[in-house]
């Protein structure tokens, strides 16, 4: 699930996570610079190459 971070005081405290409610246009907030994408939580495990 994508996590959004507040970048403008006009929608909340900067740095806090933004949780959009139903009906909020997230694309418009991203385009306007009000929030940014923190990205999905992904595993840091790196697959090693198989040994031959």
């Amino acid at each position: 699930m994508t996590k959004y971070i507040i970048e403008s005081e006009k929608i909340g405290k900067i740095g806090d996570e933004f949780e959009p409610t139903e009906g909020i246009n997230v694309a418009a907030l991203l385009e306007g610079g009000f929030i940014s994408t923190a990205g999905e939580a992904k595993s840091h495990k790196v697959k090693s190459e198989p040994k031959e």
Binding site: K10, N25, E31, G32
Partner: protein
């Protein structure tokens, strides 16, 4: 006699963005379409309620500064969003209800309204959406 006087503290958000410091007028109108149900034998027209057809109009100062009016509204044209309006910035209560129009549509956005010696202001109309109010 109690009346509502609006000075400097109503709160207006568009798509969760607080635009109170750019807003000089806000009107939210609750409308339920009238469907005529008059039939033979009636002596006057009568109606029943149909669908909601709500509307919000806002007057805002236009600003191209970062995270201001233009940045808030530009990407909303042709889409639906939420608007909230509260009479004062005090806590939401029975005497300070918050009105939310969910899923209202912005058809057009004036980009420039330039007059010599005057501040650039724009009038917006959001149509449709479901209107709710909350007192807590």
């Amino acid at each position: 006699m109690a009346t509502s006087t609006y000075l400097s503290n109503p709160v207006v958000t568009v798509n969760a963005v607080d635009l109170s410091d750019q807003c000089t007028a806000a009107t939210i109108t609750k409308t339920v379409e009238a469907l005529e149900s008059t039939a033979f034998g009636g002596v006057a027209r009568v109606y029943v309620g149909g669908l909601q057809a709500n509307e919000v109009t806002l007057t805002l100062y236009n600003s191209f500064a970062s995270t201001e009016t233009y940045a808030t509204l530009n990407a909303l044209v042709g889409t639906s969003t939420n608007i909230t309006i509260k009479p004062t910035s005090a806590a939401t209560s029975a005497t300070n209800p918050i009105f939310t129009l969910t899923g209202c549509y912005l058809e057009s956005l004036p980009l420039i309204n330039a007059s010599l010696g005057e501040l650039d202001t724009i009038d917006l109309t959001f149509t449709g959406g479901v209107l709710t109010s909350a007192t807590s």
